[in-house]
Protein backbone atom coordinates (compact mmCIF):
# COMPACT_ATOMS: atom_id res chain seq x y z
CA UNK A 1 0.00 0.00 0.00
CA UNK A 2 2.78 2.36 1.01
CA UNK A 3 4.62 1.70 -2.22
CA UNK A 4 1.47 2.20 -4.27
CA UNK A 5 0.87 5.56 -2.63
CA UNK A 6 4.42 6.63 -3.37
CA UNK A 7 3.99 5.72 -7.02
CA UNK A 8 0.70 7.57 -7.07
CA UNK A 9 2.32 10.73 -5.66
CA UNK A 10 4.90 10.68 -8.40
CA UNK A 11 2.48 9.74 -11.17
CA UNK A 12 -0.99 11.02 -10.22
CA UNK A 13 -2.32 10.20 -13.70
CA UNK A 14 -2.01 6.45 -13.07
CA UNK A 15 -5.42 6.31 -11.38
CA UNK A 16 -6.93 7.76 -14.57
CA UNK A 17 -5.16 5.16 -16.73
CA UNK A 18 -6.46 2.36 -14.54
CA UNK A 19 -9.98 3.72 -14.78
CA UNK A 20 -9.67 4.10 -18.55
CA UNK A 21 -8.76 0.42 -18.89
CA UNK A 22 -11.69 -0.63 -16.72
CA UNK A 23 -14.07 1.51 -18.75
CA UNK A 24 -12.72 0.14 -22.04
CA UNK A 25 -13.37 -3.40 -20.86
CA UNK A 26 -16.88 -2.55 -19.64
CA UNK A 27 -17.85 -0.76 -22.86
CA UNK A 28 -16.29 -3.50 -24.97
CA UNK A 29 -18.54 -6.05 -23.29
CA UNK A 30 -21.62 -3.82 -23.20
CA UNK A 31 -21.35 -2.90 -26.89
CA UNK A 32 -20.83 -6.50 -28.04
CA UNK A 33 -17.29 -5.80 -29.21
CA UNK A 34 -18.03 -2.67 -31.21
CA UNK A 35 -16.23 -0.30 -28.85
CA UNK A 36 -12.71 -1.42 -29.65
CA UNK A 37 -13.40 -2.00 -33.35
CA UNK A 38 -11.15 -0.16 -35.80
CA UNK A 39 -14.02 1.95 -37.05
CA UNK A 40 -15.05 3.17 -33.63
CA UNK A 41 -11.49 3.85 -32.53
CA UNK A 42 -11.03 5.87 -35.70
CA UNK A 43 -14.02 7.95 -34.68
CA UNK A 44 -12.71 8.52 -31.13
CA UNK A 45 -9.18 9.33 -32.32
CA UNK A 46 -10.50 11.71 -34.96
CA UNK A 47 -12.45 13.87 -32.49
CA UNK A 48 -10.30 13.49 -29.41
CA UNK A 49 -7.42 15.85 -30.37
CA UNK A 50 -9.68 18.91 -30.47
CA UNK A 51 -10.73 18.60 -26.87
CA UNK A 52 -7.43 17.16 -25.70
CA UNK A 53 -5.51 20.18 -27.02
CA UNK A 54 -7.73 22.44 -24.95
CA UNK A 55 -7.26 20.17 -21.94
CA UNK A 56 -3.45 20.34 -22.30
CA UNK A 57 -3.52 24.14 -22.10
CA UNK A 58 -5.97 24.21 -19.20
CA UNK A 59 -3.93 21.60 -17.32
CA UNK A 60 -0.72 23.60 -17.75
CA UNK A 61 -2.45 26.74 -16.51
CA UNK A 62 -3.99 24.94 -13.54
CA UNK A 63 -0.59 23.56 -12.54
CA UNK A 64 0.57 27.18 -12.62
CA UNK A 65 -2.21 27.94 -10.12
CA UNK A 66 -4.57 29.77 -12.45
CA UNK A 67 -7.78 29.01 -14.27
CA UNK A 68 -9.22 29.76 -17.72
CA UNK A 69 -12.95 29.71 -18.37
CA UNK A 70 -12.60 31.56 -21.67
CA UNK A 71 -11.10 28.66 -23.66
CA UNK A 72 -14.47 27.65 -25.10
CA UNK A 73 -15.01 31.16 -26.46
CA UNK A 74 -11.45 31.42 -27.77
CA UNK A 75 -12.07 28.04 -29.41
CA UNK A 76 -14.78 29.80 -31.47
CA UNK A 77 -13.23 33.27 -31.82
CA UNK A 78 -9.89 32.14 -33.27
CA UNK A 79 -11.27 30.24 -36.28
CA UNK A 80 -13.92 32.92 -36.74
CA UNK A 81 -11.23 35.58 -37.17
CA UNK A 82 -9.50 33.27 -39.62
CA UNK A 83 -12.76 32.44 -41.40
CA UNK A 84 -13.86 36.04 -41.80
CA UNK A 85 -10.47 36.92 -43.26
CA UNK A 86 -10.52 33.90 -45.59
CA UNK A 87 -14.00 34.85 -46.78
CA UNK A 88 -12.64 38.29 -47.62
CA UNK A 89 -10.01 36.69 -49.83
CA UNK A 90 -7.07 36.98 -47.42
CA UNK A 91 -4.68 34.04 -48.00
CA UNK A 92 -4.46 31.27 -45.40
CA UNK A 93 -0.82 32.12 -44.68
CA UNK A 94 -2.03 35.42 -43.19
CA UNK A 95 -5.48 34.48 -41.90
CA UNK A 96 -4.28 31.48 -39.88
CA UNK A 97 -1.59 33.42 -37.94
CA UNK A 98 -4.07 36.27 -37.47
CA UNK A 99 -6.45 33.86 -35.76
CA UNK A 100 -3.74 32.48 -33.50
CA UNK A 101 -2.54 36.01 -32.73
CA UNK A 102 -6.07 36.78 -31.57
CA UNK A 103 -5.93 33.80 -29.21
CA UNK A 104 -2.55 34.92 -27.86
CA UNK A 105 -3.91 38.42 -27.32
CA UNK A 106 -6.86 37.09 -25.33
CA UNK A 107 -4.43 35.05 -23.20
CA UNK A 108 -2.22 38.09 -22.70
CA UNK A 109 -5.19 40.20 -21.57
CA UNK A 110 -6.39 37.42 -19.23
CA UNK A 111 -2.92 37.20 -17.73
CA UNK A 112 -2.25 40.91 -17.45
CA UNK A 113 -5.58 41.64 -15.76
CA UNK A 114 -5.25 38.72 -13.36
CA UNK A 115 -1.69 39.57 -12.35
CA UNK A 116 -1.95 43.36 -12.42
CA UNK A 117 -5.13 43.65 -10.39
CA UNK A 118 -4.50 40.52 -8.32
CA UNK A 119 -8.00 39.19 -8.88
CA UNK A 120 -8.96 35.52 -9.22
CA UNK A 121 -8.49 34.29 -12.78
CA UNK A 122 -11.85 32.60 -12.35
CA UNK A 123 -13.45 36.07 -12.56
CA UNK A 124 -11.14 37.50 -15.24
CA UNK A 125 -11.72 34.60 -17.58
CA UNK A 126 -15.43 34.37 -16.79
CA UNK A 127 -15.65 37.91 -18.09
CA UNK A 128 -13.52 36.98 -21.07
CA UNK A 129 -15.82 34.01 -21.77
CA UNK A 130 -18.61 36.48 -22.53
CA UNK A 131 -16.40 39.06 -24.23
CA UNK A 132 -14.78 36.62 -26.65
CA UNK A 133 -18.08 34.87 -27.42
CA UNK A 134 -19.71 38.20 -28.09
CA UNK A 135 -16.88 39.25 -30.42
CA UNK A 136 -17.23 35.96 -32.27
CA UNK A 137 -20.89 36.59 -33.00
CA UNK A 138 -20.33 40.27 -33.81
CA UNK A 139 -17.55 39.77 -36.36
CA UNK A 140 -19.47 36.97 -38.05
CA UNK A 141 -22.78 38.84 -38.06
CA UNK A 142 -24.30 35.72 -36.52
CA UNK A 143 -23.80 33.57 -39.59
CA UNK A 144 -20.79 31.46 -40.51
CA UNK A 145 -18.74 33.20 -43.22
CA UNK A 146 -18.54 31.34 -46.50
CA UNK A 147 -14.98 30.08 -46.79
CA UNK A 148 -13.85 29.35 -50.35
CA UNK A 149 -13.51 25.54 -50.77
CA UNK A 150 -9.74 25.43 -51.27
CA UNK A 151 -8.81 28.28 -48.95
CA UNK A 152 -7.70 25.98 -46.11
CA UNK A 153 -4.96 23.34 -46.44
CA UNK A 154 -7.18 20.73 -44.81
CA UNK A 155 -4.84 17.88 -45.76
CA UNK A 156 -2.24 19.31 -43.38
CA UNK A 157 -4.57 19.34 -40.42
CA UNK A 158 -7.43 16.87 -40.75
CA UNK A 159 -6.76 14.38 -43.58
CA UNK A 160 -6.86 10.70 -42.60
CA UNK A 161 -3.43 9.09 -42.33
CA UNK A 162 -1.78 5.99 -40.97
CA UNK A 163 -2.51 2.30 -41.36
CA UNK A 164 -6.14 1.82 -42.39
CA UNK A 165 -6.62 5.61 -42.15
CA UNK A 166 -6.68 5.16 -38.40
CA UNK A 167 -5.69 8.72 -37.53
CA UNK A 168 -6.39 12.19 -38.71
CA UNK A 169 -3.53 14.65 -39.16
CA UNK A 170 -4.99 16.49 -36.17
CA UNK A 171 -3.90 13.53 -34.06
CA UNK A 172 -0.30 13.94 -35.21
CA UNK A 173 -0.45 17.65 -34.32
CA UNK A 174 -1.94 16.78 -30.97
CA UNK A 175 0.82 14.25 -30.20
CA UNK A 176 3.46 16.78 -31.19
CA UNK A 177 1.97 19.50 -28.98
CA UNK A 178 1.44 17.09 -26.09
CA UNK A 179 5.06 15.91 -26.18
CA UNK A 180 6.37 19.47 -26.49
CA UNK A 181 4.30 20.85 -23.59
CA UNK A 182 4.91 17.71 -21.53
CA UNK A 183 8.67 18.08 -21.93
CA UNK A 184 8.45 21.81 -21.30
CA UNK A 185 6.82 21.10 -17.97
CA UNK A 186 8.95 18.16 -16.86
CA UNK A 187 12.39 18.89 -18.26
CA UNK A 188 12.91 22.62 -18.54
CA UNK A 189 13.59 25.36 -16.04
CA UNK A 190 10.41 27.06 -17.23
CA UNK A 191 8.48 23.95 -16.16
CA UNK A 192 10.16 24.14 -12.77
CA UNK A 193 9.03 27.75 -12.43
CA UNK A 194 5.47 26.88 -13.47
CA UNK A 195 5.28 24.21 -10.79
CA UNK A 196 6.85 26.46 -8.17
CA UNK A 197 4.54 29.36 -9.04
CA UNK A 198 1.45 27.17 -8.75
CA UNK A 199 2.78 25.06 -5.90
CA UNK A 200 3.61 27.85 -3.49
CA UNK A 201 3.69 31.40 -4.80
CA UNK A 202 5.56 33.06 -1.88
CA UNK A 203 8.41 30.55 -2.21
CA UNK A 204 8.65 31.07 -5.95
CA UNK A 205 8.75 34.84 -5.41
CA UNK A 206 11.32 34.68 -2.65
CA UNK A 207 13.55 32.56 -4.89
CA UNK A 208 13.44 35.31 -7.50
CA UNK A 209 11.26 33.62 -10.11
CA UNK A 210 9.42 36.10 -12.37
CA UNK A 211 6.06 34.65 -11.33
CA UNK A 212 3.96 37.27 -13.11
CA UNK A 213 5.64 36.56 -16.42
CA UNK A 214 5.37 32.80 -15.87
CA UNK A 215 1.63 33.12 -15.26
CA UNK A 216 1.08 35.35 -18.27
CA UNK A 217 3.03 32.93 -20.47
CA UNK A 218 0.82 30.06 -19.28
CA UNK A 219 -2.36 32.06 -19.94
CA UNK A 220 -1.10 32.76 -23.47
CA UNK A 221 -0.15 29.13 -24.14
CA UNK A 222 -3.52 27.96 -22.84
CA UNK A 223 -5.38 30.41 -25.07
CA UNK A 224 -3.21 29.58 -28.07
CA UNK A 225 -3.92 25.85 -27.76
CA UNK A 226 -7.66 26.48 -27.41
CA UNK A 227 -7.60 28.65 -30.53
CA UNK A 228 -5.59 26.06 -32.45
CA UNK A 229 -8.00 23.31 -31.40
CA UNK A 230 -10.96 25.40 -32.56
CA UNK A 231 -9.25 26.03 -35.87
CA UNK A 232 -8.82 22.28 -36.37
CA UNK A 233 -12.49 21.68 -35.63
CA UNK A 234 -13.52 24.35 -38.12
CA UNK A 235 -11.35 22.77 -40.80
CA UNK A 236 -13.04 19.46 -40.08
CA UNK A 237 -16.52 20.99 -40.24
CA UNK A 238 -15.71 23.31 -43.16
CA UNK A 239 -17.33 26.40 -41.65
CA UNK A 240 -16.79 28.41 -38.45
CA UNK A 241 -20.01 28.31 -36.46
CA UNK A 242 -20.20 31.06 -33.82
CA UNK A 243 -21.50 28.58 -31.27
CA UNK A 244 -18.74 25.96 -31.25
CA UNK A 245 -16.91 25.27 -28.02
CA UNK A 246 -19.76 26.21 -25.70
CA UNK A 247 -19.31 24.30 -22.45
CA UNK A 248 -15.87 23.17 -23.54
CA UNK A 249 -14.17 25.19 -20.78
CA UNK A 250 -15.83 23.10 -18.12
CA UNK A 251 -15.10 19.83 -19.89
CA UNK A 252 -11.46 20.87 -20.10
CA UNK A 253 -11.35 21.62 -16.38
CA UNK A 254 -13.06 18.28 -15.74
CA UNK A 255 -10.43 16.55 -17.89
CA UNK A 256 -7.59 18.16 -15.97
CA UNK A 257 -9.12 17.32 -12.61
CA UNK A 258 -9.97 13.74 -13.58
CA UNK A 259 -6.35 13.39 -14.68
CA UNK A 260 -5.09 14.27 -11.21
CA UNK A 261 -4.49 18.02 -11.47
CA UNK A 262 -5.14 19.86 -8.21
CA UNK A 263 -7.35 22.96 -8.29
CA UNK A 264 -4.92 24.59 -5.90
CA UNK A 265 -2.05 24.41 -8.39
CA UNK A 266 1.37 22.82 -8.35
CA UNK A 267 0.18 19.25 -8.83
CA UNK A 268 -0.65 17.53 -12.10
CA UNK A 269 0.78 16.35 -15.38
CA UNK A 270 0.05 16.98 -19.04
CA UNK A 271 -0.43 13.24 -19.55
CA UNK A 272 -3.05 13.33 -16.79
CA UNK A 273 -5.00 16.07 -18.57
CA UNK A 274 -4.89 14.08 -21.81
CA UNK A 275 -6.10 10.94 -20.06
CA UNK A 276 -8.93 12.97 -18.56
CA UNK A 277 -9.87 14.20 -22.02
CA UNK A 278 -9.74 10.66 -23.43
CA UNK A 279 -11.87 9.40 -20.56
CA UNK A 280 -14.52 12.00 -21.32
CA UNK A 281 -14.55 11.04 -25.03
CA UNK A 282 -14.64 7.36 -24.15
CA UNK A 283 -17.58 7.80 -21.78
CA UNK A 284 -19.45 9.85 -24.37
CA UNK A 285 -18.82 7.27 -27.08
CA UNK A 286 -19.18 4.20 -24.88
CA UNK A 287 -22.56 5.22 -23.51
CA UNK A 288 -23.93 5.62 -27.02
CA UNK A 289 -22.53 2.26 -28.12
CA UNK A 290 -23.96 0.61 -25.03
CA UNK A 291 -27.38 1.98 -26.09
CA UNK A 292 -27.68 4.12 -22.99
CA UNK A 293 -29.70 7.31 -23.42
CA UNK A 294 -27.12 9.97 -24.43
CA UNK A 295 -28.55 12.38 -21.89
CA UNK A 296 -26.86 10.38 -19.16
CA UNK A 297 -23.48 11.59 -20.46
CA UNK A 298 -23.37 14.76 -18.40
CA UNK A 299 -24.42 12.89 -15.30
CA UNK A 300 -21.58 10.42 -15.81
CA UNK A 301 -19.11 13.22 -16.47
CA UNK A 302 -20.22 15.18 -13.43
CA UNK A 303 -20.12 12.19 -11.12
CA UNK A 304 -16.70 11.15 -12.38
CA UNK A 305 -15.30 14.65 -11.82
CA UNK A 306 -16.50 14.79 -8.24
CA UNK A 307 -15.40 11.23 -7.59
CA UNK A 308 -11.94 11.90 -9.06
CA UNK A 309 -11.39 14.97 -6.87
CA UNK A 310 -12.47 13.12 -3.73
CA UNK A 311 -10.20 10.16 -4.48
CA UNK A 312 -7.26 12.40 -5.38
CA UNK A 313 -7.69 14.49 -2.24
CA UNK A 314 -7.86 11.38 -0.10
CA UNK A 315 -4.84 9.75 -1.68
CA UNK A 316 -2.84 12.96 -1.40
CA UNK A 317 -3.67 13.26 2.28
CA UNK A 318 -2.62 9.65 2.84
CA UNK A 319 0.60 10.10 0.92
CA UNK A 320 1.44 13.33 2.71
CA UNK A 321 1.03 11.69 6.08
CA UNK A 322 4.06 9.53 5.29
CA UNK A 323 7.31 11.13 6.29
CA UNK A 324 10.60 10.71 4.51
CA UNK A 325 12.99 8.51 6.42
CA UNK A 326 16.52 9.48 7.15
CA UNK A 327 19.13 6.79 6.97
Amino acid sequence: MRRLLKIYMEKPELAGIAFLIVLAVVFQVQSDGVFLSAQNLQGILGLMPEMALVAIGVTLLMICGEFDLSVGSVFALTPMVMGVLLADGVPFALAFPAGLATALTVGLINGLITVRFAIPSFITTLGMLFVARSLTVVISGGFPPIIPPDAMPREVFIAFVGPGDMFRMSFIWFVGVAVAIGLLLSHTNFGNWVRATGGFLPAAQSMGIPTSRVKIACFMLCSLLAGFAGTIQVMRLGAPLPSIGEGLELQAVAAAVIGGTALTGGIGTILGGIIGAVLIRVIDNGLVLSRVDANWFKLALGSLTIFAVIVNAWLRKKARAMKVETD
Binding site: F200, A204, S206, I267, R320
Partner: protein, 242 residues
Protein backbone atom coordinates in the same frame (compact mmCIF):
# COMPACT_ATOMS: atom_id res chain seq x y z
CA UNK B 1 38.03 43.63 10.06
CA UNK B 2 35.79 45.60 7.67
CA UNK B 3 32.07 44.93 8.07
CA UNK B 4 30.51 42.73 5.41
CA UNK B 5 27.27 44.75 5.56
CA UNK B 6 27.13 48.44 6.47
CA UNK B 7 23.64 49.87 6.84
CA UNK B 8 23.34 53.65 7.20
CA UNK B 9 20.26 55.71 8.03
CA UNK B 10 17.76 53.31 6.51
CA UNK B 11 14.20 54.63 6.30
CA UNK B 12 10.97 52.95 5.29
CA UNK B 13 7.42 54.29 5.35
CA UNK B 14 4.22 52.33 4.83
CA UNK B 15 1.48 54.79 3.89
CA UNK B 16 2.22 57.18 6.72
CA UNK B 17 3.70 54.70 9.18
CA UNK B 18 7.41 55.22 9.76
CA UNK B 19 8.52 51.58 9.99
CA UNK B 20 12.29 52.16 9.94
CA UNK B 21 13.53 55.38 11.50
CA UNK B 22 17.07 55.80 10.27
CA UNK B 23 18.50 52.41 11.20
CA UNK B 24 22.28 52.01 11.05
CA UNK B 25 23.96 48.66 11.63
CA UNK B 26 27.28 47.02 10.83
CA UNK B 27 27.42 43.26 10.40
CA UNK B 28 30.87 41.72 10.80
CA UNK B 29 32.02 38.85 8.61
CA UNK B 30 31.53 35.42 10.14
CA UNK B 31 29.53 36.62 13.11
CA UNK B 32 26.18 35.21 14.14
CA UNK B 33 23.94 38.18 14.79
CA UNK B 34 20.65 37.69 16.60
CA UNK B 35 17.93 40.18 15.71
CA UNK B 36 15.10 40.33 18.23
CA UNK B 37 12.07 42.52 18.65
CA UNK B 38 8.31 42.47 19.02
CA UNK B 39 5.86 42.37 16.14
CA UNK B 40 6.00 45.65 14.26
CA UNK B 41 9.43 46.55 15.63
CA UNK B 42 10.82 46.80 12.11
CA UNK B 43 12.99 43.71 11.98
CA UNK B 44 11.02 42.11 9.15
CA UNK B 45 11.18 45.34 7.16
CA UNK B 46 14.93 45.52 7.67
CA UNK B 47 15.32 41.91 6.56
CA UNK B 48 13.03 42.36 3.57
CA UNK B 49 15.20 45.24 2.38
CA UNK B 50 18.38 43.20 2.84
CA UNK B 51 16.88 40.24 0.97
CA UNK B 52 15.53 42.32 -1.89
CA UNK B 53 11.79 41.79 -1.37
CA UNK B 54 11.29 45.47 -0.47
CA UNK B 55 13.18 48.65 -1.25
CA UNK B 56 14.19 51.30 1.26
CA UNK B 57 12.82 54.83 1.00
CA UNK B 58 16.06 56.34 2.22
CA UNK B 59 19.55 55.44 3.40
CA UNK B 60 22.34 53.29 2.01
CA UNK B 61 23.58 49.73 2.22
CA UNK B 62 27.19 48.81 1.51
CA UNK B 63 27.97 45.16 0.95
CA UNK B 64 31.61 44.03 0.99
CA UNK B 65 32.55 47.69 0.77
CA UNK B 66 30.44 48.52 -2.30
CA UNK B 67 27.13 50.41 -2.29
CA UNK B 68 24.30 48.09 -3.33
CA UNK B 69 20.59 48.31 -4.13
CA UNK B 70 18.65 45.06 -4.28
CA UNK B 71 15.64 45.45 -6.55
CA UNK B 72 14.45 41.85 -6.17
CA UNK B 73 15.39 38.68 -4.26
CA UNK B 74 17.51 37.52 -7.15
CA UNK B 75 19.84 40.55 -6.86
CA UNK B 76 20.48 39.74 -3.21
CA UNK B 77 20.97 36.04 -3.95
CA UNK B 78 23.42 36.79 -6.74
CA UNK B 79 25.38 38.97 -4.32
CA UNK B 80 25.51 36.08 -1.84
CA UNK B 81 22.74 36.97 0.60
CA UNK B 82 20.30 34.12 1.02
CA UNK B 83 17.14 34.35 3.13
CA UNK B 84 15.49 31.36 4.74
CA UNK B 85 11.93 31.70 5.93
CA UNK B 86 9.92 29.40 8.12
CA UNK B 87 7.36 28.75 5.40
CA UNK B 88 8.06 30.38 2.13
CA UNK B 89 11.37 29.14 0.88
CA UNK B 90 10.30 25.69 -0.31
CA UNK B 91 7.52 24.41 -2.57
CA UNK B 92 6.00 21.41 -0.78
CA UNK B 93 4.64 19.82 -3.94
CA UNK B 94 8.06 19.66 -5.59
CA UNK B 95 10.98 17.31 -5.07
CA UNK B 96 14.04 18.14 -3.01
CA UNK B 97 16.26 18.29 -6.11
CA UNK B 98 13.87 20.67 -7.87
CA UNK B 99 13.53 22.85 -4.79
CA UNK B 100 17.30 23.10 -4.39
CA UNK B 101 17.62 24.68 -7.80
CA UNK B 102 14.44 26.80 -8.17
CA UNK B 103 15.36 29.79 -10.28
CA UNK B 104 18.98 28.59 -10.63
CA UNK B 105 18.53 25.36 -12.56
CA UNK B 106 21.65 23.97 -14.25
CA UNK B 107 20.82 23.81 -17.97
CA UNK B 108 22.20 21.55 -20.67
CA UNK B 109 21.20 23.97 -23.40
CA UNK B 110 19.05 27.07 -23.46
CA UNK B 111 17.39 29.60 -25.69
CA UNK B 112 16.24 33.00 -24.38
CA UNK B 113 16.77 31.80 -20.82
CA UNK B 114 14.57 28.72 -21.16
CA UNK B 115 16.34 25.40 -21.46
CA UNK B 116 16.58 21.74 -20.60
CA UNK B 117 17.49 21.05 -16.97
CA UNK B 118 20.38 18.77 -16.14
CA UNK B 119 18.41 16.34 -13.99
CA UNK B 120 21.32 14.12 -13.08
CA UNK B 121 23.45 17.02 -11.96
CA UNK B 122 20.56 18.36 -9.89
CA UNK B 123 20.08 15.01 -8.17
CA UNK B 124 23.77 14.46 -7.45
CA UNK B 125 24.53 17.97 -6.26
CA UNK B 126 21.47 18.19 -4.05
CA UNK B 127 22.35 14.92 -2.29
CA UNK B 128 25.92 16.15 -1.84
CA UNK B 129 24.72 19.51 -0.51
CA UNK B 130 22.46 17.74 1.99
CA UNK B 131 25.27 15.47 3.11
CA UNK B 132 27.45 18.55 3.62
CA UNK B 133 25.07 19.83 6.28
CA UNK B 134 24.86 16.34 7.74
CA UNK B 135 21.35 15.70 6.50
CA UNK B 136 21.01 12.23 5.05
CA UNK B 137 17.82 11.76 3.07
CA UNK B 138 17.26 8.72 0.95
CA UNK B 139 16.24 10.25 -2.33
CA UNK B 140 16.48 13.64 -4.04
CA UNK B 141 13.09 12.84 -5.58
CA UNK B 142 11.21 12.89 -2.28
CA UNK B 143 8.72 15.73 -2.08
CA UNK B 144 9.59 18.54 0.30
CA UNK B 145 6.00 18.35 1.61
CA UNK B 146 6.88 14.97 3.12
CA UNK B 147 9.79 16.38 5.13
CA UNK B 148 9.54 17.51 8.73
CA UNK B 149 9.89 21.21 9.53
CA UNK B 150 13.48 20.78 10.71
CA UNK B 151 14.44 18.77 7.64
CA UNK B 152 12.99 21.49 5.43
CA UNK B 153 15.10 24.12 7.14
CA UNK B 154 18.07 21.80 6.64
CA UNK B 155 17.36 21.61 2.92
CA UNK B 156 17.03 25.41 2.75
CA UNK B 157 20.36 25.82 4.53
CA UNK B 158 21.97 23.22 2.30
CA UNK B 159 20.69 25.15 -0.70
CA UNK B 160 22.18 28.40 0.56
CA UNK B 161 25.49 26.61 1.21
CA UNK B 162 25.50 25.08 -2.23
CA UNK B 163 25.19 28.47 -3.87
CA UNK B 164 28.10 29.78 -1.79
CA UNK B 165 26.14 32.33 0.16
CA UNK B 166 28.24 34.61 2.31
CA UNK B 167 25.38 35.91 4.41
CA UNK B 168 22.46 33.80 5.54
CA UNK B 169 19.36 35.48 6.92
CA UNK B 170 17.18 33.12 8.92
CA UNK B 171 13.73 34.61 9.48
CA UNK B 172 12.02 32.86 12.40
CA UNK B 173 13.42 29.48 11.39
CA UNK B 174 12.41 27.83 14.65
CA UNK B 175 8.76 28.91 14.67
CA UNK B 176 6.31 26.06 15.14
CA UNK B 177 9.04 23.46 15.35
CA UNK B 178 9.14 20.69 17.91
CA UNK B 179 11.88 20.92 20.54
CA UNK B 180 14.09 18.32 18.89
CA UNK B 181 13.70 19.95 15.50
CA UNK B 182 14.49 23.35 16.97
CA UNK B 183 17.75 22.02 18.38
CA UNK B 184 18.62 20.73 14.95
CA UNK B 185 18.07 24.13 13.34
CA UNK B 186 20.07 25.85 16.09
CA UNK B 187 22.81 23.31 15.39
CA UNK B 188 22.73 24.32 11.72
CA UNK B 189 23.15 27.97 12.67
CA UNK B 190 26.04 27.17 14.99
CA UNK B 191 27.77 25.22 12.25
CA UNK B 192 27.58 28.19 9.86
CA UNK B 193 30.35 29.83 11.86
CA UNK B 194 32.74 26.97 11.13
CA UNK B 195 31.97 27.35 7.45
CA UNK B 196 32.80 31.05 7.47
CA UNK B 197 29.26 32.20 6.84
CA UNK B 198 27.74 35.30 8.38
CA UNK B 199 24.36 34.61 9.92
CA UNK B 200 21.53 36.97 10.81
CA UNK B 201 19.09 35.07 12.99
CA UNK B 202 15.65 36.57 13.60
CA UNK B 203 13.46 35.14 16.30
CA UNK B 204 10.76 35.92 18.81
CA UNK B 205 12.34 33.39 21.10
CA UNK B 206 15.18 35.00 23.02
CA UNK B 207 16.39 31.63 24.31
CA UNK B 208 17.02 30.42 20.76
CA UNK B 209 18.88 33.62 19.91
CA UNK B 210 21.15 33.40 22.95
CA UNK B 211 21.88 29.78 22.17
CA UNK B 212 23.48 30.41 18.80
CA UNK B 213 24.41 34.08 18.41
CA UNK B 214 27.56 36.09 19.27
CA UNK B 215 25.81 39.42 19.22
CA UNK B 216 22.31 40.56 20.06
CA UNK B 217 20.59 43.46 18.33
CA UNK B 218 17.15 44.44 19.60
CA UNK B 219 14.70 46.59 17.70
CA UNK B 220 11.62 48.46 18.92
CA UNK B 221 9.39 50.98 17.14
CA UNK B 222 11.58 51.12 14.05
CA UNK B 223 14.85 51.76 15.87
CA UNK B 224 17.73 49.77 17.26
CA UNK B 225 17.47 49.94 21.04
CA UNK B 226 20.21 47.53 22.05
CA UNK B 227 23.38 46.23 20.40
CA UNK B 228 25.68 44.15 22.61
CA UNK B 229 27.83 41.05 22.56
CA UNK B 230 25.81 38.06 23.72
CA UNK B 231 28.20 37.31 26.60
CA UNK B 232 27.93 40.88 27.94
CA UNK B 233 24.18 40.95 28.24
CA UNK B 234 21.47 38.92 29.95
CA UNK B 235 18.08 37.89 28.64
CA UNK B 236 16.45 40.23 31.15
CA UNK B 237 18.41 43.19 29.79
CA UNK B 238 17.05 42.42 26.36
CA UNK B 239 13.49 41.91 27.55
CA UNK B 240 13.64 45.26 29.39
CA UNK B 241 14.23 47.28 26.25
CA UNK B 242 11.64 45.58 24.07
Amino acid sequence: MAPIIEIRELHKWYSGVHALKGVSLDVQPNEALGLVGDNGAGKSTLINILSGTQMADGGTIRYEGRPVTFRNPRDAMDAGIETIYQYNSMVPTMSIARNMFIGREPLKASLFGVGVMDGRKMAQESMQALADVDLHLRSPDALVGELSGGQRQGVAIARAMHFKSKVMILDEPTNHLAVKETQKVIGFVQSLKDMGITAIFISHNIHHVFECCDRIVAMARGEIVLDRRADEVTMDDVLDVL
